[in-house]
Structures are given as C-alpha cells and as structure tokens.
C-alpha cells in the first residue's frame, strides 16, 4: 500500500483535480447571472468521479482488458435501445435516466472502444486491409449509433482514434487511399440522410458567420469578442460582460474557455493550458509492460488531446461548433466520469511498471 502511494503519479492527479475545480469555478460564473446551480451538480459529479477513479484504479489491468468487449457490447445495446425508445415516444427516453441525474451513455463508450482497439493493435504487428477495416468497423458502429442519438460531438471525437491508429501503425498507402475514399462516401451519404438540418447549419455557419443572434455564426463572433476583450488580465471573476449578460452562448460547456478568457485574461488562460500541457506530457511519457497498454494510453491520450484541441479552436472560431466540451473542465457529469475512468486505467498501468 505504501508502494502504491509512493509510485502513484501524485502531480498529474493533483493537476487533474485542479482542472476539475477550475471547471466548477467557471461553471459557477457561467450560471451566476441566471442563478443557476449547475456548479453544485458538477461538484457532486466530481466526488462520484473520484470514487469511481479509485475503484477502477484498484482493478487488475488484465481484468479490465478482458471485459472490454462485454462492456462495449452492453453500451452499444443501450445506445440502440435509446434510439428505438426515441422512435417510439419521446417520453420513454427518460427510462434511461438514473433517477434525477441524466446519463449520457455515448460518453462512456470511448473507454471500452479504446481498450478493444488497443488489444487488436497489439495482436497484429502489421495492419493489413482486413484488420484495418475491422478496427474501422469497431469505431463506425458506435459512431453511427451516436449520430442517430443525435450527438454529433461525441461521434466526431471517437473518429480521432483513426488518425492515432494511422500514426502508430504502418498502414499500406492503398488501404489509406481506399479508406479515405470510403470515408468520403460515408460522409456524403451521412450528410444527405443522417444529419439533421440544424446539425448541417452548425457546420456550414462556421464558414459563414452571421449577424443574427440565434445563429451559430453569431455565437462564434460573441465567443471571440469574449476572449479578445479579456485582454491580459481579464475583466475580473463574475464581471465579464459577455459572460454575465448572456452574449456568450453555451458558457458552461462548449465555450467555457471563453469565460475564463474574458474574466481572467490571457495570464490565466496560459496557466490553464500549461496545466493541460504538463498532464499530456506526463501521460505520454511512461514505461509499460505489454503492447496493449501502450496502445491504450496513446489512443486515449490522443482522444483527450483531440477533444481539447477541437474545443479550444472552436471557441476561437477556427472549427465548427459541434458541441464538444473541454475535458475535465466543462459541465457534464458523464464526460467528467468517463475521463476519470480512462485516467484511472492509465494511472494503474503506470504504477504496475514499478510494482513488478
């Protein structure tokens, strides 16, 4: 037990807590003018997430990998059920709500999916076409189900596994080209049949900012104004006019970076990003005992980095507004919980190295 404490990555753990606490502080500011109490919910979720973190941390890595496919299938089943229920009646969807707390199951699938992908990558030193498409299929299945939810953001984030795989493994150019063409085909079909109008608007409006207040384009403009007007040291906590007078949309989720940018300025943005940098740096640099652990860590860290990057560039207007929260910081219990579960596995992998 003493060894557990000794080799536990205390700095990274503390930094993650700092990120989550910063998030709660920002969620409080985001809801301040409207007297919202979401920050309390988020604090409760943080406690739950920490408890789950230590439960998962205590599990043997083997056990975790062994049960990945079962959890993956279970989650797919739940997602499919949710869609069916949604088709039958809008009201029955609430059956999946656990008590008063809404659960976003799509957030959780990234853990078993990353584990499964890591296992396959470890099993095959070379990626031939068959294996590659097997991987793609594993990703595509939940992506499709989640688009139907509909949740564009999460399904987009899951796709980040594909470039990570391509970076990690040598893939034959022919496979790359053909899969690229397939992806374009899927995209075309998806655009015309799966996506709803408002989802299309979100993507298009990023290219075409508009003056109308409810449009996504207007939201991007307001987000940039919020960040830019914060300047070096910000307007002061709870004193941002963009944040407090409702000019900034989706303040506690998509545009939480804009809240800190406006109220606390470039200095604090830089500190926040430096924390993220340290976390990423430490999590990418480690020793491991088997290949699937290596792949899992790269896949999962890649996903967090990707989500971080998309969220931040979205707030700056460089990326379409897809509804992607900032990891560990943005409001959302399911998202916070799933990230802490993933981190728990990484922490366990890192500690195993010292303990054996």
């Amino acid at each position: 037990m003493k060894d557990y404490f000794k080799y536990f990555d205390k700095l990274t753990f503390i930094l993650l807590i700092v990120l989550a606490l910063t998030g709660i502080l920002l969620i409080y500011s985001a809801g301040f003018s409207l007297n919202e109490t979401n920050y309390l919910k988020q604090a409760a979720w943080l406690l739950v997430a920490l408890a789950v973190f230590f439960i998962v941390f205590s599990l043997k890595i083997d056990f975790v990998f062994r049960n990945a496919s079962a959890v993956y299938l279970l989650l797919l089943f739940i997602l499919a059920l949710q869609i069916l229920a949604g088709h039958i009646s809008a009201g029955t969807k609430s059956w999946f709500r656990l008590g008063a707390v809404g659960m976003q199951f799509s957030e959780f699938i990234k853990i078993p999916l990353a584990l499964l992908l890591a296992k396959i990558l470890a099993r095959y030193p070379l990626l031939d076409g068959k294996v590659f498409f097997e991987l793609i299929a594993l990703i595509a299945l939940p992506v499709a189900l989640i688009i139907l939810q509909p949740d564009l953001g999460v399904s987009f984030i899951l796709c980040s596994f594909i470039p990570t795989i391509i970076l990690l493994k040598k893939v034959r150019p022919l496979i790359l080209v053909s899969s690229l063409m397939l992806a374009m085909l899927c995209g075309l079909v998806g655009w015309n049949s799966l996506l709803k109008d408002y989802q299309k608007n979100r993507i298009i409006s990023f290219l075409n900012p508009s003056k109308y207040k409810t449009s996504i384009g207007y939201q991007i403009i307001q987000s940039k104004i919020a960040i830019g007007s914060g300047g070096l040291s910000g307007k002061g906590y709870l004193k941002g006019s963009q944040s407090q007078y409702q000019f900034l949309p989706a303040r506690r989720t998509d545009f939480i970076v804009s809240v800190i940018g406006e109220e606390m300025g470039f200095i604090n943005i830089a500190i926040l990003f430096f924390i993220f940098f340290v976390v990423f740096y430490r999590q990418f640099k480690f020793n491991f005992q088997n290949d699937e652990e290596f792949y899992f860590i790269y896949l999962f860290n890649g996903l967090i980095l990707f989500q971080f990057l998309v969220n931040v560039t979205m707030a700056m207007g460089f990326f379409p507004v897809l509804g992607i929260p900032l990891p560990f910081v943005s409001y959302g219990g399911s998202s916070l919980l799933s990230f802490f579960v993933g981190e728990a596995i990484i922490f366990r992998i890192k500690i195993n190295n010292y303990l054996t």
Binding site: P125, K211, Y298
Partner: protein, 605 residues
Amino acid sequence: MYPNRKKLSAAYIKKATSVSAVILVIIFLGIFAAFWNIQIVNYEYFRRLAIQNITRSIDLPAPRGLIVDSKRAVLSENKINFTLYLVRENVVDMEKTMRLASFFSAKKNDALRAIIAKYKKYPQFYRIPIKTNLARSTVIFIESRQEEFPEFVIGVEPTRTYPLENCAANVLGYISEITEAELNSPERHEYSLGDFIGRSGIEKQFESYLKGVKGSQVVIKDNLEKIQKVESEIKPLIGATVVLTLDLELQKFVEGLFVDQNGAAGVVDLRTGGILAMVSKPDYNPEIFSQEMEREQWLALSNDPRKPLQNKFLQGIYSPGSVFKIIMALVGLQEKIISPATVVHCSGSQDFYGREFHCWNLSGHGTMDIFSALQNSCNIFFYNLGKRLDIDTIARYARMMGLGNESGIDMPNENKGLVPGSAWKMKTFGQRWFPGETISVAIGHGSLNVTPVQLLKMIATVALRGRMPSLHLLQRIERQGKKIVEFPPAFTRVPIAVENFQVVIDGLFRCVNNGGTGGSAAIAGLDICGKTGTSQIIAKENPNYKTLTKEKRFMPNSWFVSFAPKDNPRVAMVVLVENGGDAGASAAPLAARIYKKYFENERLF
C-alpha cells in the same frame, strides 16, 4: 508478469515518445500564439466590440411645453403613452416577427413593411416605432414574455393630449410626425425620424419654444435588450409653457353659441390687443393627430366641405358686405367728400352709369345723413359716396384699416384677403377699372374679400379712435416658471382724424341702440356700438353648398362687428355666421350674449 507480450522495440517507443512530444509542443505553441493574437494583439478591437454589445444610447424624448389660457387653465398637455418598438438586430425569423407585429399593432403587413423601410439607413439596433398608444393589456403581455420576442421593446413616452377635446382646436392646432423630406432640410436638424412637430395654430407658431430639448441615456443592456443599469443620463428638458391671452370660460361660451351653425367669432381685449376668444366652427379634436390616424379618417377631415381643419377666423375668405360701410364713412369724412351735415335721399333705388342699383330697403329710407346711413345701413347713401370717390383712394384707406393684408396676429397661415384696385384689375384681368365696380365695392361687394380677423382689427381700431392694436394670442412664454418672452401691448396710429372716428362711432351706436339694423344686439346699460353685414353669396361657390338644405343654401353670410362700451371701450368682437341670413337676426344676438357673459364675468355689468 507478461514476459512475451512486449514486442514493440525500444527504438519504436523512443520515436513514439519524441514524436508525441513534438506534436504536443507544436499544438500548444499554436494555441498560445492564437490566444496571444486575439487577447493581446487585437485586445482594443474586441474590447470595443464588447462595449458596443452592452451599451446603448437611447434618446429621451422631451415632453412638449404646456399651452394654458390667461388664467392658467390647461389647454394642451402630455400624457403617458406606450410605444411598441422593433429592434431589427434581434429578429430571428422575419416572417414570425411580422406576424407578431401585425398582431400587436393591428396593422397590415404592407403598412408595417412601409414603416420599417423608412428606417433602412438607420443602424440595426435602432428602435423603430411600430405603434403608439399601445393598449395596456398588450404592454403587459409583451413585457411578461419579453424573452420570447426580444425584437420588441416597449418605450414609455409622453404624447400630446388636449384635455378639452375640440375646445379651441383651431387656435391650438395639432402636431404630427415629421416626414423624411422635412428631416433633410437644415432647419430641422434637431429632429429625428419619429419626432412630432407642430403643424398648425399655436403648436406650429411656437414650435421652437414648445418642443423642449431631448435628453439621452447610456444604458448597459444584456443580450435580450433588457436594461441592466443606467450608465449616464442627460435629462430631457420640458418645452416652455405658452400662456395665451385666451379666456377659456369665454372661449367655451362662444363655442357653445354655434349650435348647429358654422362660422367664426373673435373677441379682443382693447386694452392689450390680446385675443380673449377665437372660434372657428366646425372644429375637430386635435388629439387624433397625436395618435396614428387612419387614412380614411384623414381624408374625411380634409375633404369635409365645411372645412373643420381651417381656422376660418384667420383663413376664411368672405365678402364683408355692409360692414365695409364703416370704412367708406371714414374715407368720405377724411377725404372731406362728406361731412356730418351731408344728406342723401334714398328712394329705394338709383341709377348709376346706366344701371339701376337697389337699396336693401326697396321702399327707401328717405333722407339720410352719415349717422342714419350707418344706423340703417342705407346702400343708396354709400353708392353716392362711392361715386364721388375713386377705387384707389378707397383701397388705400381699406389697407390703412388692415384689409388686404395679414393682420399680423401671432398665428401661422393667415390669409390676406383682397382689396381690389385699378392696378390689381389690370394685372389680373388685363382690363381697366370700371366706375360701376366702385359702386358695388362701396357697400362691401364686388371683388372685395376679407378674413374675420381683419374686420376685428378694423373695428378695434375704430373703437380706439384710430389707435390700431397688434392682435395677439400670446401673453408670455415661461420656462421653469421664469418669463422668457412677453407680448407687450402695442398700438399704431392710423392717419385718420379722431373726430371722424367719433362720427362713425355715433352712427354705430345708433345702429344698435336707436332702432338700427343691429338692434338685436342692444343691452340696456351697455353702450354697444356695432354694424351688421349681410353678404350675398353665389350659391354654387358656397363651400357648404352640398351640406345645406335647399332654403339655407342661398342664405347670405351674416356679420356683426361691434365694440363696447362706446366710451372707454373694453372689448371688440366679430361674429360671422355662415348662411346666417339676416345679420340683425342671427349674428347680432350672438354678440349680445357674448357681451353679457363678458361683462358679467368682469363684474362691470
């Protein structure tokens, strides 16, 4: 533990670690650079945009000044009005907004689009007034559901109201919204679209004093246009109070005398030249102009043949008829054509220049001097006087007594009337003046045209034995209780001898008090002097032609000009009853009632 499961080479792992480190550094440097650019380099730009987002400068309309009578009874004031504004910036779906706007304002889509189109050049956040005088229930409905339609804003503003409704309508005038064309003229630079401006009467005459000074407010507002706090405010300055010489009680009384008759009347205080009452009938309620008027309502008013929008006292053109004999008498006496001893025999008719001219009394008045000629309004006496005068001399005196030109009263849009002369005839018709025409003019007919106010000025000058008063409605203008403008009594001397006025006044006294044509104006104990006038009108030119019954259509207009008392006169007045018929029977009795009322009020009787 897992001896065989680690196959990745150390080189591969080293490469993976360094590549991921490089990617991390690039990503974070990029993001830092982007935030540096937006927060530090372009800080000023975004700071300004953020301030623009939350601040609004709002014009605060100034309440118009009050108009009160000489005893401070309020004739025109302001009341609270709710205006519905549209803010285009907040429109989500124009179709839906138009449906709502149409519902709230009860206006058609086309009308609303026309309003919005007027503000094309104004910024998107400008508040466009869609509807004034919004019903209180609509105000509550919109304000309680403000979040559902942020494009609508309710403003609370003063609006013009006339608590006495039609009373003194044509004196006060009305205000209406300024037009785009007017805004382009340099003297209207203080106005902006949606402002109101005086259009007639006192509202127009004293517009610059009444309108006040607009204030402004800089407010902090949120995304839903809800005002969070007021940053700074310049309070609007209420317009100055215009105090009129009008006596509301007398005004109401005179208006009440015209029951179902049309016409005009005016009473002047001879000590000051201030108008005590000015009536023009029919009238209207000026408040309808402060609100939004339906086109039909406007057309009905402006096309009404009885001309309710015209202030007949200043703008109505009438033949003076026998009232003109007063001026003829003055010309004759001053030019020494006649003297108080001159007599003329009236047999009921007489031939002039080969044409037979009649007296109104066809059986003849017998022997007439100037006193009895005025008393009985004998045409034959004045025909003979006219024959011995030339038209240009008559015209000169007529102008001297205030005809043919604006009276100069402090009201807009006065009519000049017409005093014919030989030069006028040549210019207008290219013909010389015929002596026979002078005979008609001598009894106030022919091309001669006057307005009631000119006759009031004329009779006031007679009453004052040649001291001509400046007629005025304004007593003074006050700003915050302090007098800023005052109208001091002003008189000018007419170059006619006082004793000639005395002769005429004796004639006018006999007209009322010695069984003359004005006998029905007589009040025992009050020395009223007056002159009747019955002016023939050509029926088809009569503006009332269509609205009158067949018998009334051909009825002449009735005049009674008078003053009292004979010595040290206090008031003079003119009463005109359109189609009143015999003046002695219609206009003169009204005058008598006005005198009674006035002198009772002044406790002089």
